[in-house]
């Protein structure tokens, strides 16, 4: 059963009409091909209309769409089932909100790392809603160092509402864990690609978000704070999330426009959540092409370019 957001309702209606028309064609043996075709055209047009006029808040909603694929789905599709998950930070435990391991991308080994959200209530809890603890970030760093040792490119997949703000997280140094990752990622000798596939919330995202290419899928957001929290702090009320979403310039197009991310990966017209297979293929092709490009550059130059890119960010007088 698919879930439809309020602004997706017209799509739902048309899809139902198409299904009904097809059903009538089957049961009455009347040729309905023409009608179905017309409805399909209407659906395509409507979808295009809705998805090309999304407000920032609607994009935030899409980034959290329950039908949207999560990290493991991307990795499994991209590596064609060769992904071998590696566990644990070798110090405290295995964080289920952060996953990683090698997988083959058309025969070539790549280190995949990312936050993982759960697909149902039980799994959401198991995955801690994609909010990693310090051991998650430390596991990520361990795997990045492993990739560096064996000269394998790294792809990080970002989808998190933030780093976990719990008591144990503070005790075990959430701040230090994220800081260390940022610092070390700047200096990794292998190519690093970071892809925001859903939510990119603040330090929790940046903790695996420093790379030669930092890119966002079209219907995602990336900023220093979620629109809800921003609303509660600056407006002192939860009711200004739409306004906050606009003010924060957090959509993929805005972030690209400000040169805070390198590229936007276009999604299929009806969004990653409705055309998952297409989305996986687009992402795979992007990764393949980009790794090839990045591997042509010498490691020390790549590192300098990476640092320079982040150093250029900022506006001052």
């Amino acid at each position: 059963m698919s879930t439809y957001l309020d602004f997706e309702e017209p799509i739902k209606e048309l899809e139902e009409q198409i299904a009904q028309t097809k059903q009538i064609g089957l049961t009455t043996e009347v040729d309905m091909t023409e009608q179905v075709k017309k409805l399909q055209e209407k659906l395509d047009l409507k979808t295009k209309e809705i998805f090309s006029n999304l407000t920032p808040w609607q994009r935030v909603q899409l980034s959290r769409h329950p039908d949207r694929p999560y990290t493991l789905a991307y990795i499994n599709a991209i590596s064609d089932g060769t992904f071998q998950e590696l566990h644990g930070d070798r110090s405290v435990k295995d964080d289920k909100a952060m996953i990683g391991g090698f997988g083959l991308l058309d025969g070539k080994s790549v280190m995949f790392i990312g936050q993982q959200k759960g697909i149902n209530t039980k799994m959401r809890q198991y995955r801690n809603f994609g909010m990693a603890n310090p051991e998650g970030y430390r596991k990520a760093l361990r795997l990045m160092k492993l990739a560096e040792k064996f000269d394998k490119p790294i792809v990080t997949i970002i989808d998190t509402p933030g780093a976990f703000p719990g008591l144990e997280a503070e005790e075990r140094g959430q701040g230090e864990a994220i800081a260390r990752n940022i610092y070390e990622m700047m200096r990794l000798k292998v190519p690093v690609i970071c892809i925001v596939i859903g939510e990119g919330a603040s330090g929790g995202a940046l903790g695996i978000g420093v790379g030669d290419k930092v890119v966002m899928l079209e219907n995602t957001w990336y900023s220093v704070i979620s629109p809800e929290s921003c609303s509660s702090i600056l407006w002192r009320s939860w009711d200004f999330k739409e306004k906050a979403a606009e003010a924060l310039k957090l959509t993929s197009t805005d972030m690209k426009g400000l040169n805070l991310v390198d590229e936007v990966i276009q999604e299929p017209i009806n969004g990653a959540h409705r055309s998952q297979e297409d989305m996986f293929e687009i992402t795979k092709q992007y990764i393949k092409k980009t790794i090839t490009e990045l591997e042509k550059i010498k490691p020390d130059i790549r590192i300098n370019d990476r640092i320079d890119k982040f150093c250029k960010m900022g506006v001052w007088k």
Binding site: Q174, A179, I182, Y183, G203, V210, V224, L248, L250, F310
Partner: protein, 281 residues
């Protein structure tokens, strides 16, 4: 029969003859409520003589405490914030900045100075909490990056004194990326084998903790400072119960292994000088 007899009713001083107590003559410790003269309070480096409560102070005060004879050269003093996002919540961002500049006399939430500490070269970036909560924005990121360049140029040690609520929301994505920017520059400093001392003071939270503040060759702190990633209110809401005594204080963070030592303000200069010497000699 009373001892004294009032012979005129009410207050008889006219408003024009009234004498105000001059501002800043006295200081009352917010912790133990002891009253000091401001002059005495300055002598103790803004630390309560009785309960050793460390009052929050600004960059100028730290520079005076640390640099020999209070003598230092400031760089990038006039760098100010742009408004890349035309940000507006209940107030325009530009208005907030202007108001803060007026009330504090500062240009942004960090100042960079270099000079000698017990004869040793040191570049210090010190935050001012009074300026929009010491928040990390483009100006702070850029000034720290240039401060690191200065340290490399002078072959000097580098120090950041953190006192910040975290990232500056009104610069959204830009403020987030400053965490990466400064961390990247610290890597360059490290290549030159120049020491970086991160000094955490009350409060150090959010994006500042999750980047350069935790990346010192040594991380040190003032006593009883609030240090954490998430703010205590957020943590309390997350776990749904009261926080343990002393949670997220310097002492707590030291105990959990993220600080090298805690230093009283009265010992600050001597201690920093020794650390610098231990790196150098």
């Amino acid at each position: 029969m009373s001892w004294f007899k009032r012979n005129k009713e009410g207050i008889t001083t006219t408003t024009s003859e009234k004498k105000e107590t001059p501002e800043g003559l006295w200081h009352k410790c917010p912790n133990c409520k002891t009253v000091f003269t401001q002059a005495d309070f300055i002598k103790t480096n803004y630390v309560c003589d009785r309960c050793s409560y460390h009052e929050r102070i600004g960059s100028e005060e730290y520079f005076q405490i640390l640099f020999d004879k209070g003598d230092y050269t400031e760089i990038d003093a006039n760098l100010t914030s742009g408004d890349p996002l035309n940000f507006e919540d209940t107030k325009k961002y530009t208005d907030r900045i202007a108001a803060s500049q007026k009330s504090t006399g500062l240009k942004d939430a960090v100042r960079t100075g270099y000079g000698k500490v017990d004869g040793l070269d040191l570049v210090i970036c010190c935050m001012d909490f009074a300026f929009v909560g010491g928040s990390l924005g483009s100006v702070m990121g850029e000034k720290m990056a240039r401060g690191i360049d200065k340290a490399i140029e002078l072959k000097a040690a580098f120090m950041i004194i953190s006192k910040s609520g975290g990232a500056r929301m009104m610069e959204a994505g830009y403020s987030l990326m400053q965490m990466a920017k400064v961390s990247g520059k610290l890597g360059q400093l490290s290549e030159h084998k120049l020491p970086y001392i991160s000094f955490l003071t009350d409060p150090t939270t959010g994006g500042v903790t999750a980047s350069f503040a935790m990346l010192g060759d040594i991380n040190i702190a003032e006593p009883k400072a609030l240090i954490g990633f998430a703010g205590p209110r957020v943590v309390k809401e997350t776990i749904g119960r009261d926080l343990p005594e002393g949670f997220q204080t310097s002492e707590f963070v030291l105990e959990h292994g993220f600080l090298d030592y805690i230093v009283e303000r009265s010992e600050l200069k001597k201690t920093i000088a020794l650390s610098l010497r231990l790196f150098k000699n």
